[in-house]
């Protein structure tokens, strides 16, 4: 009887050991498989966020006059004087006749007739032309 009990106890211990080993291995495998998958998704999200962030920064840098000014200054400083570094539009490259006409939408601005970039009546005897920029 004691021998039978001993065998049963040994068997139970053995089964318990096997059972716990079965439990551990898939968990470990699952964990090891899940970890890189989550990392990949995480990396993609990080990458996407990073790309979005870079795009926003690019737009902001393009729009930020101070940063643009700094970039321009660097360009001018870094490049030798012989190399053309002028980012401004080159009039020689433009065929004036090929430029599409602007829409001349008629309206009113501060009580004055407007038509596109023009204020006033087309029949007015005097034309004031203002070559200007916005900075």
């Amino acid at each position: 009887m004691r021998g039978l009990v001993g065998v049963l106890v040994a068997l139970a211990v053995l089964l318990a050991a096997c059972g716990s080993a079965d439990d551990v291995e898939p968990t470990g495998t699952e964990t090891s498989e899940r970890a890189p998958r989550e990392a990949t998704v995480g990396q993609a999200q990080q990458q996407q966020q990073s790309q979005q962030s870079q795009q926003i920064q690019a737009v902001q840098q393009q729009a930020d006059p101070q940063q643009v000014g700094q970039q321009e200054q660097q360009t001018v400083d870094d490049q030798p004087a012989a190399e053309p570094s002028d980012p401004e539009p080159q009039p020689e490259a433009v065929d004036h006749s090929a430029v599409a006409p602007e829409p001349s939408i008629v309206g009113t601005h501060k009580g004055v007739r407007s038509e596109g970039r023009t204020l006033g009546l087309a029949a007015a005897p005097v034309l004031i032309e203002h070559f200007g920029d916005f900075t």
């Binding site: 539009p89 020689e92 204020l119």
Partner: protein, 132 residues
């Protein structure tokens, strides 16, 4: 003042021409105003840029202003992304160079270059009005 005195009275008309001589921000602003012009919104955005409103150099600030002016921002943004108005600005710039414009503001009254002070422009307009 000039606008009220001479333009509103029908004696003169005033035309703005793009001359972005101050680098990329100037080109950016000119493209934006020209894109607003595509929807009939030239003057409100012109005035805001002339007030040196720095917020217009951020996407959010520009969008706020464009929508405030009653323009369709999607159409405006597409115009900006395509730089659709850039050839027009280049042409205006080229014309300025051909006419001897070296800086801004440069003013012509009936084709004659004058100083950009109020007095000089007013005198030139008066002379043009009184010319036989």
């Amino acid at each position: 003042m000039l606008i009220e005195q001479f333009v509103a009275s029908g004696q003169a008309r005033y035309e703005f021409r793009y001359m972005p001589v101050l680098g990329d921000p100037a080109v950016y602003a000119a493209v934006a105003v020209a894109c607003a012009n595509e929807q009939g919104g030239f003057w409100p955005l012109h005035d805001r840029f002339m007030l040196a409103d720095e917020t217009l150099f951020s996407e959010a600030g520009l969008r706020r202003q464009v929508e405030f002016d009653g323009l369709d921002y999607d159409i405006f943004q597409q115009c900006m992304l395509d730089a659709a108005t850039l050839p027009l600005i280049q042409a205006s710039y080229g014309e300025g160079v051909e006419r001897g414009v070296e800086g801004t503001p440069t003013i012509f009254v009936n084709g004659v270059r004058v100083d950009h002070s109020y007095d000089a422009i007013a005198d030139a307009v008066e002379r043009a009005l009184n010319a036989p």
